[in-house]
């Protein structure tokens, strides 16, 4: 059975980190599994963990003006579900629901932040990777803001 640092090595965001750094990060982690329909986290809860998705698919949901949940993003293996653990006040601003059986490495956010503070080299490398993820999400959101496929035409 693989250790957590070996599982992190399989994840594209952490694959090119050194073994030592992965071992340090893995010290904050544990494996978690979510059945289809189960929530990884809910809006307003403390953002206490960073979920590194290994298998399955996670829907990130907001509630629209009519009170209906809308899936605004999905996270597949190789992604990170939720980034609110990184920024004060460390509370989730959306729901994350497993669309299918999903496995993730849950990294304790306080532990991660403490290790980044203690060793800025680790912090910098980790933030580079998180920034890449955030940049991709921002680009995706901006493109979708353009509504490029167009609203249906009324007749």
């Amino acid at each position: 059975m693989k250790q957590l640092d070996e599982l992190l090595a399989d994840h594209p965001l952490f694959a090119d980190l050194g073994d030592d750094m992965r071992r340090v990060l893995a010290g904050c982690g544990r494996n978690e599994h979510f059945g289809a329909g189960n929530y990884l986290f809910r809006t307003g809860d403390p953002a206490a963990r960073c979920y590194v998705v290994r298998h399955g698919r996670v829907a990130l949901e907001l509630v629209d003006a009519g009170g209906r949940p809308v899936v605004v993003d999905t996270v597949d293996p190789g992604g990170i579900a939720g980034l609110s653990w990184l920024v004060p006040p460390y509370r989730w601003y959306l729901d994350a629901r497993a669309l299918e059986s999903t496995s993730a490495i849950a990294l304790d956010a306080s532990c991660l932040r403490a290790k980044c503070d203690a060793d800025p080299a680790i912090g910098y490398l980790l933030m580079q990777r998180i920034a890449r993820e955030m940049y991709g999400r921002m680009q995706s959101a901006r493109l979708r803001m353009l509504d490029i496929y167009g609203a249906p035409v009324d007749h």
């Binding site: 949940p69 809308v70 680009q139 979708r144």
Partner: protein, 284 residues
């Protein structure tokens, strides 16, 4: 210049419309309809995937529409029409038995043959799946000629996806990887939410051996083509279908001119190496 254009154009016969009868209409989405048209004179309309025709409904005008059917079945012309203006709405409203006037086919197509021996990646956004459907049908019909085949489809919402039944059939095949992503969805959607470029990393492309065919809104094609080039796919192996205000269809009227190019004649399909520069110029 004029002589050159006349030489390159399809000749005056190509300007004469032929009557086609609507044999079947399929409502794809709330504003998009696929029409199956049969030529009155029973002479099939041979075409290359990616070519378009000018379709007219008397009294409403004429619009350029890409052919969305199977190039191996020229006896039944298929067009998928999104009602966005008076003419396209009038065409989309036609009923079985109505007659439409068709000129063409026009333009340069996808040149699917060039992808033989390569991996084929088809990326479609919204109504852009219509001009690419003949590519998918052609590749699947001659599957042995190509290596891996990928189809990535982007849509505004799940209910705006075109050809849902056919997409299910394609998903059921083991020799093509079909991936659908939408901009947003309700909680019942099990698929991906995001943009088409999100789906490229999982394909594990072999860049130098990949031929990509892209069609959709221009910004979608540009970011997808740039993402593919960043992965190492040569720009000349990335094809895009440009949409401009085509009127005559034969490079004479100049309505669709894009700098030195006539989209109706030199395109609508271009290598990204040819149009990359033009796609970033504002208001061109």
């Amino acid at each position: 210049m004029t002589t050159d254009l006349l030489d390159r154009s399809a000749g005056t016969d190509a300007l004469v419309p032929r009557p086609f009868v609507v044999r079947r209409r399929i409502r794809e989405t709330s504003d998009t309809t696929t029409l199956l048209l049969e030529p009155v004179d029973r002479t099939g309309l041979e075409f290359e995937p990616g070519q378009f025709t000018m379709i007219g409904r008397p009294g409403f005008g004429e619009v350029p529409i890409s052919i969305s059917g199977d190039s191996a079945r020229p006896g039944m012309l298929e067009h998928t029409v999104r009602a966005v203006g008076d003419a396209s709405a009038a065409i989309a409203r036609t009923r079985r038995g109505d007659t439409l006037l068709v000129r063409g086919p026009y333009g340069r197509g996808w040149d699917v043959e060039a992808a033989a021996g390569h991996d084929v990646l088809v990326v479609a956004g919204g109504i852009g799946l219509a001009p690419l459907r003949p590519v998918v049908l052609d590749v699947l019909a001659r599957r042995d000629l190509f290596r891996r085949a990928f189809l990535v489809v982007g849509s505004r919402t799940p209910d705006q996806l075109l050809y849902p039944r056919q997409m299910e059939q394609w998903r059921g095949r083991f020799d093509v990887d079909v991936d659908v992503t939408v901009d947003a969805a309700d909680a019942g959607w099990r698929g991906h939410v995001g943009v088409v470029t999100d789906r490229l990393p999982r394909l594990d492309l072999d860049p130098l051996s990949t031929f990509a065919f892209l069609c959709g809104p221009e910004v979608m094609m540009r970011v997808t083509a740039d993402a593919l080039c960043a992965l190492g796919v040569p720009a000349a192996q990335v094809r895009v279908s440009m949409e401009r205000n085509m009127k005559c269809g034969v490079g004479m009227c100049g309505h669709c001119q894009l700098r030195e190019l006539f989209v109706c004649l030199d395109g609508p399909v271009f290598g990204y190496d040819v149009v990359q520069r033009l796609m970033t110029e504002p208001e061109l």
